[in-house]
Amino acid sequence: MGTNKLVVLCAMLPVAAAWSCRTGKQEATGQQVPAAEVTLSEALRHSLSSASAPLPDSLLACEAYGGGDPQLALARFRVLGSAMHADTAVVRAEVVSVADVRLAADGPYEVRQRVRTDTLSWSLLPLAESGRWGVCGYSREGVGFVRLQYLQPPARWLNGASLASVQDLADSLAIEH
């Protein structure tokens, strides 16, 4: 198929089509989706504690409302793999976080500094306008990522933690794969 024909076909595809316009082929259930892995990697890079700019909307296929629960301060990540499930690409990644942020029942956010490794998964859907994959909201486990520099009193930093100590810890672990 020529490039022009592929561009026209991609523009006509419905949102739910399980088709990668970057690779130009239909993905079957269970098949790996490298293009979706690239998108998740890009989104996680924008979610790192050291990221200077917010996650761009162009990487998102669904709204993420209200903040994740919990929200993690991300130090590094490693994409593990992907598989198609109907029209959705499910991509897994190992994430190393240095703090978790939760709403306390009495109102303010609470920051707990600790190092933890989790394996999380995200749903990615094809974007109608670009044919690329977009991340659908938080991780399927409900976890989001936080920009700690925007917390101010009355948020509580527990056990002697501070923005500087969390950022230093993140920097010491920040080896990206």
Binding site: Y65, G67, Q71, A105, Y138, Q152
Partner: protein, 155 residues
Amino acid sequence: MIGAAQGMQVARHAAEGGEWTYSQYPSGVQGDPTEPLGGERLGDCTDLVRYAVSGGLGSAWAGGEKANTAAFNNGTAEGFTEVMRSAARPGDVVVRGGHAGIFTGINSRDEVRGFANNGQPNTSAGGYKDNATRVINFGPSKETRFFRPLLAGEP
């Protein structure tokens, strides 16, 4: 617990509340609005929930302190009791992770619909967003929890 007709009062009051300007600044988020946009109400998703339940039920509601999603998720939300998803009906509170709204129904794909003040705080990876106050898809019913307001005098 409230009855079905009272649940409809809650849902109606939520919808009649108009547009909300999303903000979590009282919880400590710098960069979230401290004032609403013109003609709107200021708060986050659980502020809309409290507005709907308190206004829809008046003195019939058991009341309590404002309950955020953490309080719902850990079972300490005053004035509410959790109900099974098979028993959920319009006017109940729907909670999924860090978001909450007023339950309106479940569609044919088993997705939970709810009226909510939508947005995300400036602390989110995507930065601050103030999305339209409207009915949204809260996701698969097995991933959501439902809470029904209690009547005054109920334990």
